[in-house]
């Protein structure tokens, strides 16, 4: 097997609070191959955003990151452990080799600079290039993103653009140095569905064109089904399922994933039948995680004396498919 582009081993992210330490990400392992799309699915408090920020080296004190390694093959083919890099070196990777986009473009775009100035800054920070050449590259990038009249849009300020256009500008900035990995944290959540469809189409197209790998973070299973090669489901700081997209949608053995899939209303659902099969209860308090399996208080498959006592390991349940459930052999969707 080819070495993955990114391999994260034993990542733990914790935050110290007045009420004790909160472990946001607990001993996480995952990898992403070149050109592959890994979708991380999780609800609030699952640790999905903290994990991606840790990869980018963006967890600041009082947050604490521990790990065996975050191995990344850079453009020259050298393997670098991102968790051991000095900040100056990390800055050279960030943007140029790994880029990140967020849910709300207004928090990533500076309101007092034009779109063009911001994209050009990103380019010239990483690549020795004249302002004119960088402007040409920025214009090219916006055109690739389907921004109409890109030359004129370079001179626009963020507030002068629509939500979809802003999201494109942010993607343009992120991709301007042709990174080999894009981390996208809920990039379409704040957008309308028709705009979301445009942006998903765009990310897929760019990925084909640039051969870029993507880590896509979302809570939306529909979005995951559309773009994922592989999926990792997180719950309360842990990876609870990981596998190929189709294997998960067609044959998951995890009660939490089954619960998520069933509880989402789908178009044309017959509602004369029973109510929506909701998952009962709430996300656990990270300061008082349940003993045993963290999902057991909400799980209809939970077995007293087993699931409330014993913490389940990630076990293989199929080709490249793992679940964290002691009873996975008996669990069917």
């Amino acid at each position: 097997m080819k070495a993955p582009l990114l391999e994260v081993r034993g990542l733990t992210v914790s935050f110290r609070t007045e009420e004790g330490e909160i472990v946001a990400v607990d001993d996480l392992y995952f990898s992403v191959g070149r050109g592959e799309t890994l979708v991380i699915v999780g609800e609030s408090g699952s640790g999905k955003s903290a994990a991606s920020l840790a990869v980018m080296g963006l967890i600041d004190a009082p947050g604490k990151v521990r790990c065996e390694a975050i191995d990344f093959s850079d453009k020259s083919g050298r393997k670098r452990d991102l968790s051991r890099l000095a900040e100056a070196e990390m800055q050279r990777i960030r943007g140029a080799e790994i880029a990140m986009i967020f849910q709300e473009p207004m928090t990533s775009l500076n309101p007092v600079y034009t779109i063009g100035e911001q994209i050009i800054e990103a380019i010239t920070f990483h690549e020795p290039m004249s302002g004119r050449a960088a402007r040409g590259r920025a214009e090219e990038m916006l055109a690739l993103l389907g921004v109409p009249d890109p030359r004129r849009r370079l001179d626009a300020y963020p507030h002068q653009l629509s939500g979809g256009m802003r999201q494109r500008a942010m993607i343009g900035m992120a991709l301007s140095c042709r990174p080999s990995l894009l981390i996208a944290d809920e990039p379409t959540t704040a957008l309308d569905v028709t705009v979301q469809a445009q942006i998903l189409e765009l990310i897929r197209g760019l990925q084909r064109e640039l051969g870029m790998a993507v880590i896509f973070i979302t809570h939306n299973l529909g979005v995951a089904a559309e773009i994922a090669d592989r999926i990792m489901v997180m719950y309360a700081g842990q990876a609870v399922e990981s596998g190929p997209c189709r294997a998960i949608f067609r044959g998951t053995h995890l009660p939490y994933t089954i619960g998520l899939m069933r509880s989402v209303p789908r178009l044309g659902l017959d509602r004369s039948a029973a109510p929506l099969p909701a998952i009962p209860g709430n996300m656990p308090d990270p300061r008082r995680l349940p003993r045993g399996c963290r999902f057991h208080p909400r799980c209809s498959f939970a077995e007293p004396g087993l699931c409330d006592l014993q913490a389940p390991p990630l076990e293989s349940c199929g080709d490249n498919h793992q679940v964290r459930c002691l009873r996975w052999r008996e669990v069917r969707a």
Partner: protein, 327 residues
């Protein structure tokens, strides 16, 4: 049956910061029967929130008539508005922003009882608050707790209890589940539907999530740039949409199915400015079926099925909705 709510020609304009008029809602008409759920769908800028706020008289319409139980509420003075407010209650998206963080749950739910003079004394009001808590699935010990001590889903339960405290006939729910986690959304949707059925509530359910609106609504109204594109029974509107915008909206919903085969209609371009909307049909600049005639006149809503109307002059658009496996 006479309608609980009868809205005719509802229009709301705002003055834009740099001059010009934002046409947020333009000539919207619909009726809502007692105990009926009408879902309002549309993307940002479609006017769905403004319609909800005008109906609650949180903002005044620029033109149009809103009849509630046959009486026009658009010109009601504040004193008479109070009686209407006892009948029409809102539920908002953000249960954190809409609950006073300094008030206990008991104070939050008791306030509307006091305002409307419900309950003879404290004991009676407390009994009523406890009954409401039970109805929305919150434990009795929630009484003395404060909003920050609850999760998002529980806070939305508190908002629902507050809205129901005055026994309204109409609920305007604006994105009541969109801020909640996926696993919690279904709980709140089930609760809203159960209460709506049990209490025979009429409801305007406003949301951008088509599947959620479809699930909870009897009828649906699709809005674009402040105008009604299509209105009709939810089942037939989703199974056989007649307006190209409705078709595009349905096709854009991502489905949790990796083998989904149908071809997606991806709309070109951006929403036009509501300050300077396109002439004729407002959707024509992004419509794959637009004809030159679409620019000439605003299309009338025409009958396309039982209780089903669409504002499109073309009658030859194929309804090919392969996504409806269940319908």
């Amino acid at each position: 049956m006479s309608a609980l709510l009868d809205v005719t020609g509802l229009t709301r304009h705002f003055t834009a910061a740099h001059g010009g008029t934002v046409r947020a809602v333009e000539d919207v008409s619909f009726a809502l029967a007692e105990g009926e759920v009408l879902g309002l769908v549309g993307e940002s800028g479609s006017g769905k929130t403004t319609i909800g706020q005008t109906i609650l008289r949180l903002i005044d319409p620029t033109a149009g008539r809103i009849l509630f139980r046959g009486a026009d509420i658009t010109g009601l003075p504040a004193r008479e508005l109070k009686a209407f407010r006892r009948e029409a209650q809102p539920i908002f998206q953000d249960p954190f922003g809409s609950l006073n963080p300094r008030m206990s749950v008991e104070a939050i739910i008791t306030e509307p009882l006091i305002v409307h003079g419900i309950g003879r004394d404290r004991a009676e009001r407390r009994a009523r608050v406890l009954a409401l808590l039970e109805q929305v699935g919150l434990p009795r010990d929630s009484l003395k707790r404060y909003p920050h001590q609850f999760s998002g889903g529980q806070r939305q339960r508190i908002s629902i209890a507050r809205a129901l405290a005055v026994e309204p006939a109409l609920i305007v729910a604006d994105e009541p589940v969109s801020a909640l986690d996926v696993s919690i959304q279904a709980q709140i949707i089930n609760l809203l539907r159960e209460l709506q059925q049990k209490l025979k509530l009429a409801m305007l359910f406003i949301a951008h999530d088509l599947a959620v609106v479809d699930y909870i609504s009897d009828r649906m109204m699709v809005l674009y740039l402040g105008r009604v594109m299509e209105i009709g029974p939810a089942r037939s509107l989703i199974a056989a949409p007649k307006h190209p915008y409705t078709m595009a909206l349905i096709s854009a919903v991502p489905e949790p199915d990796p083998d989904r085969a149908d071809k997606r209609i991806v709309l070109e371009g951006d929403l036009p400015s509501p300050i300077d909307p396109p002439s004729g049909c407002v959707f024509r600049t992004r419509c794959p079926y637009a004809l030159p005639a679409c620019a000439e006149a605003v299309p009338e809503l025409r009958q396309v099925g039982a209780g089903h109307q669409a504002a499109c002059i073309r009658e030859d658009i194929p309804t090919d909705n392969r996504r409806m496996r269940h319908a």
